[in-house]
C-alpha cells in the first residue's frame, strides 16, 4: 500500500517535451488507469515513477517520502514493460525468477511462487524454454506478466499489460489484477490506450495527452462529464457523434441549428448565448429511436445496421451528417428506412470548436 504523489513532473528527450509539468495523486491501495493515445507520455511517466528514467524537473513521493532521486533497485516497484523487455539470453524460468534471486529467495520458495503464477497465466509448460524470442507475442506477454506479478512490491506499474492477449485471456488477466488488488491491496497504476480496459480495471482514470493530465475522474464522470472534446472522443464506443453548427435564441429557448437539422436545447442548461460556430456532441447511446420529444424529433435514413450480439449499431444519415445510434438487441429497421429519433437531453454536450473545451454539460 503506497500513496503516490507526482508533482510538476517534466521530462524532455532531445528537446522534445514528453511530460509537461504533470501532477497526479494516487491514493494508497487504489487502481488508477492512465488512459491516453500512443505518445501521450504514459510510458515515460511510469518509467519516471519506477526510477529508470530521471525527470528533468518535479518530484515523486511514495507515502510522503521523496523518491525522485532514489535508484530503481531501492524503490521496490514492479514495472511491466510494454515491450516486454524479456532477458533474451535467459530461459523463461530465469526470466521470471531473476527478481526473486536479487532478493535472495530460496529455491524451494521460488519454485512454489513460480508454479502458482505460471499456472494462472497458463505458461507453466514454457518454463524450460531457453530462448524467449521463440515465444509467440501472447506467450511473451504472459511471461513478462509473470515476471512482474511474481513479487509483492509496494507498487505495480503496468504498461499495456494485456494488449496482445486474446479476448478470453485478457478478461482473465483483468479479473486477476482485480483479485490481486483485493487480496494484497497494492497500489496499481495501469497504462492503456483502450478505454474499455481502463473502465474495466480502474477505480479512477487519469486521461493523459501530450504529457499533461487532461482529466482525472472516476469512469462514470468521464463518460458523462468530459472536460473537453479530447476526452469525449477518446471514451465511448461507437465514438461520440459531433455536429458543427450554431446557436439561435428562439423565444425562451436556445436552438442548435446546422444544415438540415435543428435541436432544441433543454432549458435547464441555462445556456449563455454563444455566437459563432459551436459543436454539439452526444453519445450513440443517447439516441432514442421512435421516441418523440417536444421540439427535438429528428428524422434520418438508416444507412447501415451492425448487429453486435447484445446491441445493434445504426448509421443514420441526418441532413449532411452520418450519426451513430445504439439500439438494444436486434434492430428491425431496414436499410434506407426513414426513422424518427430524439436525443436524450441529459446526454447533450456543447463544445467550443476553437479550443475543444466543453462549454456546458
Amino acid at each position: 500500500m503506497t500513496h503516490v504523489k507526482i508533482k510538476n513532473l517534466k521530462k524532455s528527450y532531445n528537446g522534445f517535451e514528453v511530460l509537461k509539468g504533470l501532477s497526479l495523486e494516487i491514493p494508497s491501495g487504489s487502481i488508477v488507469a492512465l488512459l491516453g493515445p500512443t505518445g501521450a507520455g504514459k510510458t515515460t511517466l511510469l518509467k519516471c515513477i519506477a526510477g529508470v528514467e530521471q525527470p528533468d524537473e518535479g518530484e515523486i513521493y511514495f507515502d510522503d517520502i521523496n523518491v525522485t532521486y532514489l535508484p530503481p533497485w531501492s524503490r521496490d516497484v514492479a514495472l511491466f514493460f510494454q515491450s516486454y523487455a524479456l532477458y533474451p539470453h535467459m530461459s523463461v524460468y530465469d526470466n521470471i525468477t531473476f527478481t526473486l534471486k536479487q532478493r535472495r529467495f530460496d529455491v524451494g520458495e521460488m519454485d512454489k511462487i513460480v508454479k502458482s503464477i505460471t499456472t494462472k497465466l497458463k505458461i507453466s509448460h514454457l518454463l524450460d524454454r531457453k530462448d524467449p524470442s521463440t515465444l509467440s507475442g501472447g506467450e511473451m506477454q504472459r511471461v513478462a506478466l509473470a515476471r512482474t506479478l511474481v513479487r509483492r512490491p509496494r507498487l505495480f506499474l503496468l504498461d499495456e499489460p494485456i494488449s496482445n492477449l486474446d479476448a478470453k485471456l485478457r478478461e482473465e488477466a483483468r479479473v486477476e489484477f482485480k483479485r490481486l488488488h483485493r487480496e494484497f491491496k497494492q497500489t496499481i497504476i495501469y497504462a492503456t490506450p483502450d478505454f474499455v480496459e481502463a473502465f474495466a480495471v480502474a477505480e479512477k482514470i487519469a486521461v493523459i495527452n501530450n504529457g499533461e493530465i487532461i482529466q482525472y475522474d472516476d469512469p462514470l464522470t468521464l463518460m458523462r462529464r468530459p472536460h473537453n472534446k479530447f476526452v469525449a472522443t477518446l471514451i465511448g464506443s461507437p465514438p461520440i457523434n459531433i455536429i458543427r453548427g450554431h446557436l439561435v435564441q428562439v423565444g425562451n429557448t436556445v436552438v442548435f441549428k446546422s444544415s438540415g437539422l435543428e435541436i432544441e436545447l433543454p432549458q435547464e442548461k441555462k445556456l449563455e448565448m454563444v455566437s459563432g460556430d459551436i459543436e454539439l456532441a452526444f453519445r450513440p447511446q443517447s439516441v432514442r429511436i421512435n421516441s418523440y420529444q417536444l421540439g427535438n424529433t429528428l428524422r434520418g435514413k438508416v444507412l447501415a445496421a451492425e448487429f453486435m450480439g447484445h446491441q445493434t449499431i445504426l448509421t443514420l444519415l441526418v441532413g449532411n451528417f452520418k450519426l451513430k445510434a445504439v439500439v438494444k438487441g436486434i434492430s428491425r429497421h431496414a436499410i434506407n428506412e426513414e426513422v424518427s429519433f430524439s436525443i436524450d437531453p441529459e446526454g447533450i454536450i456543447l463544445i467550443d470548436p476553437k479550443d475543444g473545451r466543453v462549454i456546458q454539460v
Binding site: A50, G51, W73, V77, A78, Y84, A85, Y87, F98, R103
Partner: protein, 301 residues
C-alpha cells in the same frame, strides 16, 4: 513468347556463371600469397629460387626443423645472423603470444566498460569524447613513432613487455570503444531497465544483462584486435630488443646480408599466421556479425 523466356533463362545462367568466375578470380587473387607462402615453406633454398617457379616438387620439412632445433653449426655456415634467429624462435613466439593476449585482454576490458558507459550513461560531452578517442587513430603511426621512441627510452619502458603492451592497449582502445559502443547502442534499453526494476544494481546489470547480449560483438571486436596486434611491426621493431622482440620483427631480421633463406622465412610465417588463421576461423561468424550488425538483427520484440 516461349523462345523469349528460354532466352531469358540462358542470359540469367550466363550472368550467374560470370559472377562465379569473378568471385573465384578475386578469391584466388587474395588466397594466392598464402598458398605460395605455405608452398615455399616446404621448399629448399634452391627450389624456392627456381625459375620458372615450381608447382610440383618434393616437399621438405627441413625449414620447420630449422626454426626450433638448434642446428647451430649448419646454419652458422650459411650466415651468422640466421643462427641467432633459429635458436631464439620460441622466445619470439612466446613474446608475440604474451604481448597480443595481454594487450587484447586489457583493451577489451577497458574498451567494453568505457563503451557501455558512453552508450548508457552518456556523460557530458560524450560525442566530443568519442571523437577525441577516434582522432588518436587519424594520424599514421609513423608520425608518432620517433616521439614515442624517445619517450619510452626516457621513462624506461623501452624494451619491456609492459611498454609494448601499454602501447598496443592505447592504440587499440579507440577501436574497441567505438566498436563495442555500436553494439551496446543496438540493444534496447528496456531490458536493462527491467533488470534495474527487478532489483539488480548497475554492475550486475552490466555483466548479467548487457554483456551477454553483445557477446557476438565482443567476439568480433576481439577478432579485429587480434589481427591488429598480432601483425604489428613498426613499434615492435622500434621499441624492442632481443628479449622482448616479437615474431614480425624476427622475420624481418631473418634477411641476412649474404643470402635470404626464403624457405625458412616462409616456414616461420606459416607458423605465425596459423594461430591467427585458426582464431579468425573460429571467430568468423562473430566477425561477419560485427560487420553486418544492425542489418541482420535477430527477431526480438
Amino acid at each position: 513468347m516461349l523462345r523469349n523466356t528460354s532466352k531469358k533463362k540462358i542470359v540469367r545462367k550466363i550472368r550467374q556463371i560470370a559472377i562465379y568466375v569473378l568471385v573465384l578470380a578475386v578469391t584466388a587473387y587474395f588466397i594466392f600469397p598464402i598458398f605460395w607462402l605455405i608452398a615455399t615453406s616446404f621448399k629448399t633454398r634452391a627450389q624456392a629460387f627456381s625459375t620458372p617457379p615450381l608447382f610440383v616438387w618434393e616437399p621438405t620439412l627441413r625449414n620447420y626443423i630449422d626454426i626450433f632445433l638448434k642446428r647451430q653449426t649448419e646454419i652458422e655456415a650459411i650466415t651468422g645472423r640466421e643462427l641467432e634467429l633459429a635458436t631464439g624462435a620460441e622466445t619470439f613466439f612466446f613474446n608475440s603470444f604474451l604481448v597480443t593476449s595481454t594487450s587484447i585482454l586489457v583493451a577489451t576490458l577497458i574498451g567494453t566498460l568505457a563503451a557501455y558507459s558512453f552508450s548508457r550513461y552518456r556523460p557530458t560531452g560524450t560525442n566530443t569524447l568519442m571523437f577525441f578517442i577516434l582522432s588518436t587513430r587519424m594520424l599514421p603511426a609513423i608520425v608518432v613513432a620517433i616521439p614515442i621512441y624517445f619517450f619510452y627510452r626516457y621513462i624506461g619502458l623501452y624494451n619491456t613487455y609492459i611498454g609494448l603492451i601499454l602501447l598496443y592497449v592505447m592504440f587499440n582502445l579507440p577501436f574497441a570503444v567505438w566498436m563495442m559502443k555500436s553494439f551496446f547502442d543496438e540493444i534496447p534499453k528496456d531490458i536493462e531497465q527491467a533488470a534495474f526494476v527487478d532489483g539488480a544494481k548497475p554492475f550486475k546489470v552490466f555483466y548479467k544483462i548487457a554483456l551477454p547480449q553483445v557477446y557476438l560483438g565482443l567476439g568480433a571486436t576481439i577478432g579485429f584486435l587480434i589481427i591488429n596486434v598480432w601483425n604489428e611491426f613498426l613499434f615492435a621493431l622500434l621499441l624492442t630488443e632481443r628479449a622482448t622482440r616479437t615474431v614480425p620483427v624476427m622475420i624481418a631480421g631473418t634477411r641476412g646480408e649474404v643470402g635470404i633463406n626464403w624457405g625458412l622465412i616462409a616456414a616461420i610465417e606459416t607458423l605465425y599466421i596459423l594461430p591467427a588463421l585458426v582464431l579468425i576461423f573460429i571467430l568468423q561468424k562473430y566477425l561477419l556479425r560485427g560487420m553486418t550488425f544492425g542489418t541482420v538483427r535477430g527477431v526480438r520484440q
